[in-house]
């Protein structure tokens, strides 16, 4: 047992050193952003920039593009996650249950967006989006359709790991033999069991959507990063503050989601 204790101590030491050093590397630019946005003209510190950022009436009046960008990105996040889940979860479950030979194909398709950078996709998407605009209108929210594609590789990995961990066949067969229809199977049997994976896929989608710039800017639509970039040309300090705020927000969302996920797990008996 003492062997384990030594090893645990060494691991803890290693862990804190590594996390500490790498943590410093990551903390530096973030700290610099805070430092930059609190500089007062003529030395000293001021919270003016931050006060302006959170003063909604000022933002509304003087920086309307920032407000539009924030709202657009909020909507895009929700829409992208919804479409992604509705598209991927049933498909992946179905493939596992009924069409195992298609698994490679689906995997390949889901990994394809990693091979095709956003800037290339935009060129090809232009005629497609002309049709989208014709049927659905020109709102920035329809960028979500393209964002789902960008998110596919990460969401697929997360959901695949989740589906691998549970015995989909048995669960589905059991539910079906008890008379459940397919929608019930998906919604009330499969989904709750892959909750962590779904949340993980949702996290990564949120982070990606909030950080996306290329497609939105080349399609002349509004989104958070486009707004921040524009702001950067007028008011560097406010733009950096906005960027940092978005980063912190995404971080908080992800942390919160991670708590929701494991909260449920603690109610079930630990499996070995």
């Amino acid at each position: 047992m003492s062997l384990h204790a030594t090893r645990r101590r060494r691991q803890a030491g290693f862990r804190w050193t590594v996390v500490g050093v790498i943590g410093l590397f990551f903390a530096l630019p973030i700290f610099s952003m805070v430092e930059f946005t609190t500089r007062a003209p003529g030395g000293g510190r001021t919270l003016d920039t931050w006060a302006t950022l959170f003063n909604f009436s000022v933002i509304d009046a003087d920086y309307p593009e920032l407000k539009t960008g924030i709202l657009a990105s909020a909507g895009l996040t929700v829409l992208t996650v919804t479409i992604m889940l509705f598209l991927l979860v049933p498909t992946m479950t179905w493939v596992r249950l009924r069409l195992p030979r298609l698994r490679r194909t689906v995997e390949f398709i889901c990994l394809l967006p990693l091979t095709i950078p956003a800037i290339v996709l935009v060129v090809g998407l232009a005629p497609v989006y002309a049709w989208v605009a014709y049927f659905l209108g020109e709102s920035s929210l329809w960028l979500a359709l393209a964002y789902v594609i960008l998110v596919l590789p990460y969401a697929y990995r997360a959901l695949d790991a989740g589906l691998r961990a549970i015995d989909v066949k048995t669960l589905a067969e059991a539910a079906r033999s008890l008379g459940a229809g397919w929608p019930t199977v998906m919604w009330r049997v499969i989904l709750p069991n892959i909750r962590t994976a779904v949340l993980s896929a949702a996290f990564l989608s949120v982070a990606l959507v909030l950080g996306e710039f290329t497609i939105a800017s080349l399609f002349s639509r509004d989104n958070l990063q486009v707004a921040i970039n524009l702001l950067g040309k007028r008011d560097g300090s406010l733009a950096i503050a906005a960027a940092l705020a978005a980063l912190v927000l995404a971080f908080i969302v992800l942390i919160a989601m991670s708590f929701v996920g494991t909260g449920r797990r603690s109610h079930r008996p630990e499996e070995n």
């Binding site: 090893r7 803890a12 290693f14 804190w16 590594v18 996390v19 790498i22 990551f26 530096l28 630019p29 610099s32 952003m33 430092e35 930059f36 049933p90 498909t91 179905w94 009924r98 069409l99 195992p100 298609l102 689906v106 995997e107 398709i109 394809l112 967006p113 990693l114 095709i116 950078p117 956003a118 290339v120 996709l121 060129v123 090809g124 497609v128 393209a146 789902v148 594609i149 990995r157 691998r164 066949k169 067969e173 996290f203 990564l204 982070a207 990606l208 909030l210 950080g211 996306e212 710039f213 290329t214 990063q225 950067g232 950096i240 980063l247 971080f251 942390i255 991670s258 708590f259 494991t262």
Partner: protein
């Protein structure tokens, strides 16, 4: 639908009914992924008036485009390796932490955010740190180290490399963590009970198991860096030292016009290189799943 679930997988038949279930997915990806890709691929072989030509491909031989490909490859390879090594260390450190504990939650969430936060935000962050009025530059000035008079931050092989590692390391953690978590403690105990040291454990047990996943993750990092556009666009405004910037230039230059199809040819080149790397990645992923319990 009253078909018994067990027969289909065993006979390998694919009744049309089952295929209907995946139609939405295939239709969606056909419209939003396959078609744009094909438009780009086909466009690379067309000239400005829509006639087939190989001129775009031969335009790829121009020195600045060749050097952009070289720069992109070098940048991606170096940052992939740096990201992989440091990321792996971080991953292992986090994996040894208590599952569900605060440290792991914090680090994983932070990495989830930072892996995607390239682009404008990252460029601003680094400008706030390293530019002429950046925090670090000003701070080091007090100690006589003058960073302000050099423009290293905007060089692809110095500043951009540093910036890229910033999102490579978190991505490594996200991609590699499942694999490291899959290392069963029983294996460690078995190695120890057979008299093996830590070094032996890593060299003969964990190393070979993690190797495919590690290499696969590194390849993924390479792809990620190779395809990145927004960060470089936000940071570098002079010259297009890497391929994504060259492509962006063909789309938005107001001086040199009519190069969109050369841009598509460049995109085709990019896709070709990345496709090779991704194929290797997929092959390695399959090997990994054997050991880590799928």
């Amino acid at each position: 639908m009253a078909e018994p679930p067990s027969t289909l997988a065993s006979t390998g038949r694919k009744p049309v009914g089952a295929l209907l279930g995946v139609v939405p997915f295939f239709a969606y990806t056909a419209i939003f992924l396959a078609i744009p890709t094909l438009i780009v691929v086909v466009g690379a072989f067309l000239d400005g008036s829509g006639r087939p030509t190989l001129g775009n491909l031969s335009a790829l031989a121009q020195p600045q485009i060749v050097s952009a490909f070289v720069h992109s490859t070098v940048l991606s390879a170096v940052t992939a390796l740096l990201g992989a090594v440091f990321g792996a260390l971080l991953t292992y450190a986090v994996a040894t932490a208590r599952a569900g504990g605060l440290l792991r939650r914090l680090v994983t969430s932070l990495c989830g955010v930072l892996a995607q936060f390239g682009g404008v935000t990252l460029a601003f962050a680094f400008i706030a740190t390293f530019s002429a009025q950046g925090f670090l530059t000003v701070w080091l000035m007090k100690y006589g180290i003058d960073l302000a008079s050099t423009t290293w931050l905007y060089d692809w092989d110095k500043g951009l490399m540093l910036v890229y590692t910033y999102f490579q390391i978190p991505l490594m953690l996200i991609v590699f963590l499942p694999a490291v978590e899959g290392l069963r403690p029983q294996w460690r105990e078995a190695a120890e009970s057979l008299g093996g040291s830590t070094w032996n454990y890593w060299r003969h047990v964990a190393g070979p198991i993690l190797a495919p996943s590690f290499i696969g993750a590194t390849l993924l990092l390479f792809t990620n860096a190779f395809s990145a556009y927004a960060t470089a666009a936000a940071l570098i405004s002079q010259g297009s030292p890497i391929i994504p910037l060259q492509i962006g230039g063909t789309l938005s230059s107001e001086v040199i016009l009519g190069q969109e199809n050369v841009g598509k040819a460049m995109a085709l080149g990019m896709v070709a290189i990345v496709a090779v790397v991704m194929t290797l990645y997929v092959v390695l992923e399959r090997r990994t799943s054997k050991w880590l319990g799928s």
